[in-house]
Amino acid sequence: MLLSLLMAVLAEGDAELIKRLQSRDPQALAEIYDRYGRVAYSLILRVVRDAAIAEDLVQETFLRVWNRAQGFDAERGAFGPWLLSVARNRAIDYLRSAGGRERNALELDEVDHPALYTNMERDILASDDARVIRAALLKLTPQQREVIELAYYEGLTQTEMAERMGQPLGTVKTWVRTALKNLRDELGVAVPA
């Protein structure tokens, strides 16, 4: 019986889980936490660098997912990427508020709308992609890697990066453009047409 339970927990796809979440089944939220809690926490901790704050933000993330799951397409949606987007944006929002940079709060709301996360590779968190992207990031030059990290983990615009790094805006833009092109090429990210 226990083996069956283990298999059922592991083998059930996100789609069924999301449908249960949409029908307000708290056990579905528990299972989603078991599946994604650690990766969400890891990401948020990387941004805020404080364990207690990171846990508060993970809680906010899962509450937001709980409250917004109705807008998610259970059949075509990519749940992992959406949840990570919510987690990252909660953390960036916190960082911006703490640093007095609240200008983009609405924009963050806009980019983690659940309806946007469809027709993508769904299982990015269950594959070797984390290892692949770590390797891809390591292939970037230090400056290219830094601008990507400043954008993703600190939510800085190119203008803010230029100020932070004491570099001309044009130079930063070149680093960003080249870094993203290299990442795309390295990852071979394909999406359905």
Partner: protein, 240 residues
């Protein structure tokens, strides 16, 4: 502004850090249903997600799960495998004492209880092996399948765990056999297993595994198992 000029801006837009005029330009394209921009945005969101998923692994405290569930109105006991294992062990003991006391004279029933306990012990051992592989710091996971589908967890020290669904029970006299295929080498038998009536199956092969490009495959073989695959591969997963 054409799409060529917007290259490199989609990821920034997906991260909420694009600036004008590119930000407004992408927004306008999306608002009017520009197919190119919608496709680029899906790609950009995927790149952003992959960056997020690459963050150095860290573990939250155990109480966070309870906090989150409590915040949606559920007071729930902490969940973990240890309590399950403890519960089973306790139930087994209680069951054994109960039956032994009540049916001391019934050797058949006692034998049944012992058999059940042995089966539970086997299940617990397999569960422990499975959990060891799944929770290993070096464990990697790949999905497989159309038709039979599932996940394979590979740990370089602990072994291979295969979990499958949609795998019909093997015909009489047959069994599924798992193969570990090292890169550039012949398949190595990794044990036979049966699927459940509901099409689920779990199989563990303990022991060290060379993770470099290893492939895990499953074929249908005679119940005793084969030294090399003799039938088409039903499931295959390769660690890149």
């Amino acid at each position: 502004m054409n799409h060529e000029e917007l290259q490199g801006q989609y990821e920034l837009y997906a991260m909420g850090v694009a600036e004008d005029p590119e930000r407004n330009e992408i927004r306008e394209h999306l608002d009017r249903g520009c197919e190119v921009c919608m496709k680029e945005m899906r790609r950009a969101r995927q790149v952003a997600s992959m960056i997020g998923a690459s963050s150095a692994p860290a573990a939250p405290s155990a109480k966070l799960r309870r906090r989150i569930l409590a915040s949606v109105g559920v007071e729930q006991r902490s969940f973990g495998w240890a309590p399950w294992l403890g519960l089973v062990a306790a139930l087994s003991l209680v069951g054994a004492f109960y039956f032994e006391a009540r049916e001391r004279s019934s050797l058949e029933e006692l034998a049944a209880v012992r058999s059940q306990m042995r089966q539970q012990a086997v299940d617990l051992t397999r569960l422990n092996e499975a959990m060891t592989i799944m929770n290993g710091a070096d464990t990697r996971q790949v999905n497989f399948g159309a038709g039979p589908k599932g996940k394979v967890f590979v740990n370089p020290a602990s072994g291979v765990l295969l979990i499958a669904t949609n795998l019909p029970p093997a015909p009489a006299g047959k069994a599924y056999e798992m193969w570990v295929i090292p890169k550039g080498a012949n398949p190595v038998p990794a044990g036979t297993f049966q699927s459940q009536a509901d099409g689920t199956a779990m199989h563990v092969r303990t022991g060290p595994v060379d993770m470099n490009g290893v492939t895990i495959a499953v074929t249908l073989e005679d119940q005793a198992g084969a030294a090399q695959p003799t039938s088409p591969i039903l499931m295959v997963a390769t660690l890149q």
